[in-house]
């Protein structure tokens, strides 16, 4: 037993908060100064928005065990709610409309989470499709949501927090980074709390959870609410900071699947998993495009690229489900453990 324990104590030299703090120092202190606008626009902004969406879905699916295919709907709800709050409520600061839009998404999440009280697994996933189709339909059907714009596409407002305006790609990156950091920290606090434990209890054994006094129904709806809140804010970032426009078509079922793949590849029930998965999903198509045009030249046009992306991504997901069901996070931890023990060996 003790032998086991010593084998698994990984590099006790670094405290747990060291890695995130280091990442934050680089993200705030280095990246804004050295990053190109391509890095911000094509990689970091979509990465941050998708990470946040993945984080939201991971709370619902990874921690609380409720499968959902409605993520893009909650993103759309958040984006359009923020747009309308910003447009229609005089003097409301942007942070205010972001929080309110998160609450709107949470409300919609609770409504479409109600079937979870009766349904499980795939049946629940199918019922969350209703959210996907309904929200998209409502946003297209009622032009009030897009302020009667003829194309349905609307421009995002300028980003500012407390009077500081975040303009340019680097500014929008810092804006997104700040929101993602704050929400990630709060989400971390949540998953290590009794409520987070209740989520896992409901996921792992609903009957036992009910018997020990976990309010199962309330816990499920709370998971839907919190998850949708976060995904809604991610939708705001996606529309306001990344695309700079808001249109319903960007929040289709493909997006929902993309977010689900992010957490499957990254690692279910893990905060880091959402970031790992989002990084892969964002970087991977770019790498593939570069690689394709480098190797195959002109034959590798956008059509081929799109097709090959789908094929490789599909293959990747299958591989992950079989070889590494716990996702990139567990792969990462294993590599780190190996490196750690290798380092210690060489030091001796």
């Amino acid at each position: 037993m003790s032998a086991l324990a010593t084998e698994f104590t990984v590099a006790p030299t670094l405290p747990k908060w060291a890695a995130p703090v280091l990442v934050l120092i680089i993200a705030y202190g280095v990246v804004p100064f050295v990053g190109t606008s391509y890095l911000f626009e094509a990689i970091l902004l979509p990465f941050l928005a998708l990470s946040l969406a993945g984080l939201g879905l991971n709370i619902l699916t990874g921690y609380a065990g409720q499968l959902s295919l409605g993520s893009a709907a909650f993103m759309a709800a958040g984006a359009f709610a923020a747009y309308n709050f910003n447009l229609r409520v005089e003097g409301l600061p942007l942070v205010g409309s972001i929080i309110l839009s998160g609450l709107v998404a949470a409300g919609i999440g609770i409504v479409f989470g109600l079937p979870s009280l009766r349904l499980r697994g795939f049946y629940l996933a199918v019922s969350t499709l209703a959210a996907q189709f309904f929200v998209q339909w409502a946003l297209t059907k009622f032009s009030w949501f897009s302020n009667n714009s003829s194309s349905g596409v609307i421009d995002a407002p300028t980003l500012s927090i407390g009077g500081i305006v975040f303009s340019g790609a680097a500014g929008r990156y810092l804006f997104s980074l700040t929101i993602v950091t704050v929400i990630t920290f709060l989400a971390y606090r949540l998953v290590i709390s009794q409520t987070g434990r209740n989520f896992i209890a409901v996921r792992d054994n609903e009957t036992a959870a009910r018997i020990i006094g976990v309010p199962v129904l309330r816990t499920k709806l709370l998971a839907f609410a919190i998850s949708s809140f976060i995904i809604g804010v991610a939708g705001v970032l996606w529309a306001f900071a990344y695309l700079r426009t808001v249109e319903p078509a960007g929040f289709n079922l493909d997006r929902s699947f993309q977010i689900l793949f992010i957490i499957i590849i990254g690692g279910l029930a893990s905060i880091r998993g959402a970031f790992f998965g989002a990084a892969l999903i964002v970087v991977f198509p770019l790498v593939l495009a570069r690689l394709g045009s480098f190797l195959l030249g002109d034959i590798f046009d956008s059509g081929v690229l799109d097709m090959s992306q789908r094929i490789v991504l599909g293959a990747l997901i299958i591989l992950f489900l079989i070889l590494e069901p716990d996702g990139l996070v567990s792969l990462w931890d294993r590599i780190r453990r190996r490196l750690g023990s290798a380092l210690r060996l060489t030091r001796r």
Binding site: M1, L186, R189, L190, S193, Q194, T195, R197, N198, I200, A201, R203, D204, N205, T207, A208, A209, R210, I211, I212, G213, V214, P215, V216, L222, I226, A269
Partner: protein
């Protein structure tokens, strides 16, 4: 209000009517709990009673008119052959099943169906025949989860870390660690529950039930699939827990030897009927019990004796 709705509400009210009475007795009960941390020998009032419980699954009778009266602080075993209705009985007591007829009396309150979601508040904890641990949580967190019913702080309070949530958190962890040490599980505290050997998982489940500080502990085959050593270990843990916390224990077990040692009284079920309810010594010499369960098969092979 539509007729259907009305009927539904009436049935709800009647099923949960005991809750109205609950408020009356709760103050009194809290006194009990505070003044008697050690088992009070003079208080031999009924801890749990079943009145004429009937339950069937699509024509198969699981329980037929079962009466049972269990004194507070007693260890009561329920034995019987497979399919005798033992687990059904535990599921009726814990509200997982609703009996077709009859009542469960808990803390002096009669229930048509025990409200499962309030079970922990009513001072009842249970374990399951098939392991029902939270595999994704560590052993410690599994046991801490057993305090879920005591949590008053909201999720927002827990995120922010209000004094109430911090106090609750510390309290739950302290109690969980005490229970783990009590059951000699301190060494595996940080392991994922799903990775432990079967016997230890059973013990973690007992720890999760004990940490809730129940007044009634229901154990559904706590020693199933264990080796003889593990069984006697588990039996001594159950006895020690009863002696220390003074709760009533109802347990189902197949191993008659262990049961005879452990229990104060034994009830025997056979085909949903209670055929005996006595001390271990009396059970050992009860002819009907021997026929149904303990003893020789020869004369009953044609089913004539049953």
């Amino acid at each position: 209000m539509s007729m259907a709705n009305y009927a539904f509400e009436v049935s709800q009210t009647s099923a949960y009517a005991p809750e109205i009475l609950e408020g009356l007795s709760s103050a009194e009960r809290r006194d009990d709990a505070a003044s008697a941390p050690v088992r009070d020998e003079s208080d031999l009032s009924t801890g749990l009673a079943l009145e004429d419980i009937n339950l069937s699954f699509g024509g198969v009778v699981a329980l037929a008119g079962v009466d049972l009266s269990i004194k507070a602080g007693e260890i009561r075993a329920i034995i019987g052959p497979n399919g005798a209705g033992k687990s059904s009985l535990i599921n009726v007591i814990s509200g997982v099943y609703r009996p077709e007829r009859g009542h469960v009396v808990l803390n002096g309150v009669r229930y048509a169906q025990v409200p499962t979601q309030k079970l922990a508040h009513l001072g009842v904890a249970r374990t399951f025949q098939n392991l029902a641990l939270f595999k994704g949580l560590s052993v410690l967190d599994n046991v801490v989860a057993g305090r879920a019913h005591t949590v008053r702080s909201s999720f927002a309070g827990q995120i922010v870390g209000t004094p109430l949530s911090r106090r609750e958190r510390r309290d739950s962890y302290d109690r969980a660690i005490q229970i783990l040490d009590f059951l000699h599980l301190g060494g595996v505290r940080d392991r994922l529950a799903g990775t432990l050997p079967y016997g230890l998982q059973k013990r973690v489940e007992l720890a999760r039930a004990l940490v809730a500080e129940p007044r009634l502990l229901l154990l559904d085959e706590p020693m199933a699939g264990m080796t003889a050593t593990e069984k006697s270990e588990m039996a001594s843990f159950i006895r020690a827990a009863r002696d220390r916390f003074g709760m009533t224990v109802v347990l189902i077990e197949h191993d008659v030897g262990v049961v005879m040692e452990l229990s104060d009284r034994i009830a025997v079920l056979d085909y949903g009927l209670k055929i005996a309810d006595a001390t271990p010594a009396e059970i050992r010499s009860d002819q009907r019990v021997i026929d149904a369960y303990l003893g020789v098969v020869s004369e009953n092979e044609d089913g004539g004796g049953i």
